[in-house]
């Protein structure tokens, strides 16, 4: 039974996907909602340790449900379910049948990589998820197209880094199974590539530009799943490929922690300067993932404490997964219906949970981290906490004034969302533990105070508030007008094809500049990093 569920969880959305575009299928939006159910059931019902092997598929497919996987599966499938309901109901913007296809495909990929027990299956799911998400991001606006291209370039780079890492890992260990990976000494190159590849997904600073661009341009439902399950897939990748206590990875911990710290800084500082609530949430994600990276780095460099650190990390990550996605869904509800009271309340609750208000899941997660870190990095934690509050306040302040799209009352998504809010507020601790710590109130107060002060100042001198467009560094780079070399070459048989600049129309050219530019940018960053790591100074 659990084996069947293991197979069905990723398989059902995959099978449903081709059915969606068919005109004969009327209730396709139902499929979107239903597709994540096997996964949810699997997470809730199946015993940890259920496994199934299909050696004849691909290069040998092994599926397994372990403790970590169960957590990921539970929360991810919740989000997919809720988003599915949201999309399936009514006129979510940009949601036609095409969107549904990509939605299901991305879901399938996500679920597959969660239950994957070997590298190849993980990679297959990761690739499927990443590429299908492109279809989710796309809308009929120049901004969305551009964001899509940047996203694709970064995703491809990440996938290829992962592919290269897998080659090295297989070469070192001879096995594709994750269980065999724990005892294999990992080559440095592989570790670097893994950190890079998944770092893109997790939006480490330097690898992050795609995230704000995408989150501000894509449809809400897409952003909901992007910010929740799909981003955490990157984290899962780290956890799977660099299991705690793996030999050879200790020296990589500190650099990762530094990057994580930078991420927190970047997320907070740039986030508060945003004018779009989505952008604020995006940078908040960057900050949060920065913290997670710090924790993971700490786990890498201190294998003895790895278990505790990872436990805290997981709880924090799951909490963030749920809350962030629900925030975005809430934003969607807001856009649909305007400033209804219950929407505002829900959003405020979520923001508070994120800000670690006492009695919320967020606070409990923060507590767990503090315990795990055992007093270290207190300043960083405090910064992170204050920063989060700042960001959340900014977010809430940006909300009024957003016009509503339509006022139609769709009951089901609203109800679903509300339930989700409740869950998100307390998860992942409810119903086992009710966090009752009041210590976080201090940072809450400080942060809120700062935010409100800033708002009041800014209101009167709006023009002088600096504005950083989402995409920050990348945008600046693109402004440098990257020029590609004209590829002219007189072949043996006469004049070769003209410079490809002239054979394509200007719009295409512009878009491809974006693609190539991001690719070059990424390659530069990655090679610099790799070089710096390869040749220790």
């Amino acid at each position: 039974m659990s084996q069947a569920l293991l197979i069905l969880a990723p398989l059902l959305p995959l099978l449903l996907a081709p059915l969606v575009p068919l005109a004969v299928v009327r209730r396709w939006h139902l499929m979107l909602a239903v597709a994540a159910l096997p996964a949810l059931l699997l997470a809730l019902l199946a015993p940890v340790g259920s496994a199934v092997a299909l050696p004849w598929l691909l290069l040998g497919v092994h599926l397994e449900l372990d403790a970590v996987g169960r957590l990921f599966l539970l929360f991810s499938s919740l989000v997919w379910l809720a988003t599915g309901v949201y999309v399936g109901s009514g006129r979510a913007e940009g949601a036609g049948r095409a969107f549904g296809v990509y939605f299901l495909l991305a879901m399938a990929g996500n679920l597959l990589l969660i239950v994957a027990a070997d590298m190849m299956t993980f990679y297959a799911g990761f690739a499927l998820m990443g590429l299908s998400a492109y279809g989710l991001v796309l809308r009929r606006s120049q901004r969305a197209r551009r964001a899509g291209r940047v996203y694709l370039a970064f995703t491809l780079a990440g996938e290829l880094a992962l592919f290269s890492a897998m080659l090295l890992l297989f070469g070192a260990g001879g096995s594709l199974l994750f269980s065999d990976l724990a005892t294999t000494p990992l080559p440095d190159g592989a570790i670097a590539l893994l950190l890079l590849g998944f770092g893109i997904k997790v939006a480490l600073p330097g690898l992050h530009p795609w995230l704000p661009l995408t989150y501000t341009a894509a449809p809400i439902a897409a952003v909901a799943v992007l910010s929740g399950p799909m981003m955490k897939a990157g984290l899962l990748g780290w956890l799977r490929f660099l299991p705690p206590g793996v030999p050879g990875a200790e020296s990589w911990g500190p650099p990762l922690m530094v990057l994580g710290g930078l991420g927190i800084l970047l997320g907070v500082v740039v986030g508060v300067l945003q004018r779009d609530p989505r952008a604020v949430l995006a940078y908040s994600s960057i900050a949060k993932m920065g913290l997670i990276s710090v924790l993971f780095g700490a786990a890498l460099s201190n294998p003895l404490y790895a278990d505790a650190l990872l436990a805290a990390l997981l709880l924090f990550a799951m909490h963030h997964l749920l809350v962030k996605s629900t925030l975005f869904l809430g934003l969607g509800e807001w856009q649909r219906r305007g400033s209804r009271f219950w929407v505002l309340t829900g959003l405020a609750l979520l923001a508070l949970s994120m800000a670690a208000v006492p009695l919320s899941g967020g606070a409990a997660a923060k507590e767990a981290i503090k315990v795990a870190l055992d007093g270290e990095l207190g300043l960083l934690l405090a910064l992170s906490a204050i920063g989060t509050v700042f960001l959340m306040t900014r977010f809430l302040l940006l909300l009024p004034g957003r016009p509503a799209r339509s006022a139609e009352p769709a009951m089901v998504p609203g109800l679903t969302w509300s339930i989700l809010v409740a869950v998100a507020f307390w998860a992942p601790f409810w119903p086992t533990e009710v966090p009752g710590n009041l210590e976080g109130l201090g940072s809450l107060a400080v942060g809120a105070g700062l935010a409100l002060t800033a708002w009041w100042i800014g209101r009167s001198r709006l023009a002088s508030v600096p504005y950083v467009p989402p995409g920050d560094a990348f945008r600046l780079l693109a402004r440098l007008r990257l020029r590609r070399p004209a590829l002219e070459w007189r072949g043996l048989t006469g004049p070769g094809p003209k410079s490809w600049l002239s054979t394509q129309d200007a719009a295409q050219r512009g878009e491809e500049t974006a693609l190539l530019g991001s690719g070059l940018y990424l390659l530069a960053v990655m090679s610099l990093l790799l070089g710096a790591l390869w040749f220790p100074l």
């Binding site: 691909l58 290069l59 590429l131 780079a157 290269s164 048989t493 129309d505």
Partner: protein, 500 residues
């Protein structure tokens, strides 16, 4: 005259005889011509199936005919030849169906299908060749039989393209011939033996062997479109779509690559080639070709030309696999023979469909074509994703094994970046096409649209071949670890090559 000595010859005859018969048919006898075509293709398929079964059970099939003292025409079935023959046969059947549909109501069809059959005969002949002499014979016959196919349309551009094609391939053929004669003269009869024979021979000057290797590889490299010998390939795009499909996926380009595999593995022996210091050069040329082909593909707006440069790039994966010492790399190179064939033919079929149905030849005209022709575009998507290396389409299996082989041989430092760069470039020139096809609005009117035939977007003979080959490409990757997959066959070949 037992079955084992007749079977290879019969396989050849199963396309030669119908081909000769078709030449004599009048232009108007459609049904007879179609019947002959399909009969030949199916007969060949059955015979090849018989051969596969036999080779799997260690039976020996060999046809031998002496042409001159010391020069025997030998047709021999070993694992590698069976792989190539099966690929050719299956794809020939599919292409025949496609060509019948594509060339409907065009002139000179008897001439076309006659030479078409001769082309397949030559391909099968060189697949089954048991020594270098026989290989050279069928290699030249392939040139001769494909020339009229390239020139088929008869326009000045077609004749010109065919002439360029001929100039390149005849020159390559001459070099190959000189190399083969030289080798035969100093080393004796050159029967293909798994593991190579030259390594075991005493008293041969290694520098002579190195020069011969150069001659052979250059001669083969013309057809295999190694840079800088690839110039004919984009020019040959003037041929009708079935010809392009066949040329790129099965016949000409593959013949060159197959020849390189044969020379390195079954004549020289891969360890001996490494000992002579020749593998790095081959690898360098392959790597340059891989990158160059992809870079050139970026700048093409004509769909078939973009696919042509993509072929230049992708076929060199096979050469790359050959150039890395180790069974894993061999598996990657050999299995890519099959995978690239199936994926590329899908792409060319799709390109042909766009041109035929909508008059779309350029990528800039392909906006929204996915809505109008979803089946074809879906097949195209599968092929394109495979080229990029996205699982589960077959292409990623080849790349995986090539990468593994590089790691195993300690060459990962330069091979993996080449693979990665190639995948990125492939994405850069395929994804925009997919984007246009699926995500853009169709234009108000297509350049030369034909009304939809019945329920489907195209006549069946044109729609089903790409769909079938796309499914095959998907299956080859999805079930790569299953028994009887191309991957398993490649593993068998590699194990036999390294066993000695």
């Amino acid at each position: 005259m037992s079955l084992s000595s007749l079977l290879p010859a019969l396989i050849l005859l199963s396309s030669l005889l119908p081909g000769l018969a078709i030449f004599l048919l009048r232009e108007e006898s459609h049904r007879l011509r179609t019947a002959l075509n399909l009969f030949g293709a199916v007969a060949k398929l059955l015979l090849v199936g018989l051969m596969i079964w036999g080779v799997f059970h260690e039976r020996v099939f060999e046809t031998r005919w002496t042409l001159a003292p010391g020069l025997d025409l030998v047709l021999h079935a070993d694992a590698l030849s069976v792989l190539f023959v099966s690929l050719s046969t299956v794809l020939w059947l599919v292409t025949t169906v496609y060509a019948i549909g594509y060339l409907e109501n065009t002139p000179h069809r008897s001439r076309f299908f006659g030479f078409f059959s001769l082309c397949v005969t030559a391909t099968v002949g060189l697949a089954l060749a048991g020594n270098l002499f026989t290989f050279v014979i069928f290699y030249e016959m392939l040139t001769l039989s494909t020339y009229p196919l390239v020139a088929h349309k008869g326009t000045p551009m077609a004749v010109r393209g065919a002439r360029i094609y001929l100039a390149y391939t005849l020159s390559g053929g001459v070099l190959l011939l000189i190399g083969a004669v030289w080798l035969r003269t100093i080393a004796g009869p050159l029967e293909f033996v798994e593991g190579g024979i030259l390594g075991g021979l005493e008293g041969i000057d290694p520098w002579a062997l190195r020069w011969i290797f150069l001659l052979l590889i250059v001669g083969l490299g013309v057809k295999a479109a190694l840079v800088p010998l690839h110039g004919w390939l984009p020019q040959a795009m003037v041929a009708p779509a079935p010809v392009s499909a066949l040329l790129h996926a099965v016949a000409v380009v593959k013949a060159g690559a197959f020849g390189i595999v044969r020379v390195v593995y079954d004549v020289y022996g891969v360890e001996f080639t490494a000992a002579l210091g020749l593998l790095p050069w081959l690898g360098a040329v392959a790597a340059v070709t891989i990158i160059y082909g992809s870079v050139k593909a970026l700048s093409q707006d004509h769909l078939k030309k973009r696919l042509a440069y993509s072929t230049v790039s992708q076929v060199s994966y096979i050469a790359l696999g050959t150039a890395i010492l180790g069974p894993l790399a061999t598996i990657g190179g050999v299995v890519h023979l099959v995978h690239q064939g199936v994926m590329k033919i899908t792409l060319f079929f799709a390109a042909g469909n766009y041109a035929e149905n909508l008059g779309v030849h350029r990528i800039s005209e392909m906006d929204g074509v996915g809505r109008r022709m979803p089946g074809t575009t879906l097949a195209f998507t599968v092929g394109a994703l495979g080229m990029i290396g996205v699982p589960p389409v077959a292409g990623f299996v080849s790349k995986w094994y090539l990468g593994l082989g590089a790691v195993e041989a300690g060459q990962a430092a330069w091979v993996v970046p080449v693979l990665v760069a190639s995948s990125l470039l492939n994405a850069a020139y395929f994804l925009p096409v997919l984007y246009r096809a699926w995500f853009r609005e169709p234009p108000a009117a297509w350049p030369a649209e034909k009304p939809p035939a019945g329920r489907w977007e195209m006549p069946g003979a044109l729609l089903w071949p790409p769909v079938v080959t796309a499914v095959l490409a998907l299956a080859a990757g999805l079930f790569a670890a299953a028994p009887y997959s191309p991957l398993e066959w490649a593993q068998l070949i590699a194990s036999r090559e390294y066993a000695s």
